[in-house]
């Protein structure tokens, strides 16, 4: 399954603003695929949001999910 990902903050310097990955079933396999493709990410702290909710643990993904990669917030 193909997953579209939106990227924010300093992660854009590394990944660009959008990313599409194939054969991703859940957020754990998403992280694994990202780390294979972008080894720099392994030592980078970031959060994953699925449908605007922060992911805790592993979540099964489906085609219509909105997946976002977000570094630590720095608003204000």
């Amino acid at each position: 399954m193909q997953i579209k990902i939106i990227i924010f903050g300093q992660l854009c310097d590394l990944l660009g603003e959008n990313l599409v990955l194939d054969n991703i079933a859940d957020t754990d396999s998403l992280t694994a695929a990202l780390h294979r493709k972008y080894p720099e990410l392994v030592n980078t702290k970031y959060m994953i949001a699925v449908n605007k909710k922060l992911v805790v643990g592993n979540i099964i993904l489906s085609n219509n999910n909105t997946v976002a990669l977000m570094p630590a917030f720095s608003g204000g």
């Binding site: 924010f8 300093q10 949001a49 605007k52 976002a68 570094p71 917030f73 720095s74 608003g75 204000g76």
Partner: protein
């Protein structure tokens, strides 16, 4: 579940002093209010390794930020006896010295307004998906880290 549509807290560009003044003026009909508390975030010209920050460029995951702000808003209203709460956060390039965050709370007695305002500012900084990119004079950048 969100019943009301989340309010948009984002403004393009800096928050103008005249807008802040007008916001205060609008409350003169709400005579149950006894105190206002206002926090204004201003872009600071930090110097990092001899390079000066000239602006911060803010981006956000706007939809998620507005939903999260809606949750914060409801929790703050439940916790403090507030008459009103107004929040504006800038997006885009904000020059050093300009206002990028405006939090405005009002209550019948001062303590609720002051405490709520302070708590909202902290929660905005830690819970809203907003990012600041510090731009230097030589057009290089670094990403802001909240303390």
């Amino acid at each position: 579940m969100i019943l009301k549509k989340p309010k948009n807290i984002f403004v393009r560009g800096p928050v103008a002093a005249s807008f802040i003044g007008a916001s205060i003026q609008k409350h003169n009909t709400k005579t149950e209010i006894g105190g206002h508390s206002i926090f204004l975030g201003q872009v600071r010209a930090d110097v990092i390794e001899e390079k000066k920050v000239v602006a911060i460029e803010y981006t956000a995951y706007e939809e998620m930020a507005m939903e999260q702000m809606h949750v914060i808003r409801e929790e703050i209203f439940a916790k403090y006896q507030l008459s009103c709460m107004h929040i504006y956060h800038s997006l885009g390039k904000i020059a050093a010295g300009e206002i990028c965050l405006f939090v405005f709370t009002s209550s019948p007695h001062r303590k609720a307004a002051i405490d709520a305002c302070s708590e909202i500012v902290e929660r905005i900084k830690t819970e809203l998906p907003i990012w600041g990119k510090e731009l230097f004079t030589d057009e290089s950048h670094q990403w802001k880290v909240n303390k």
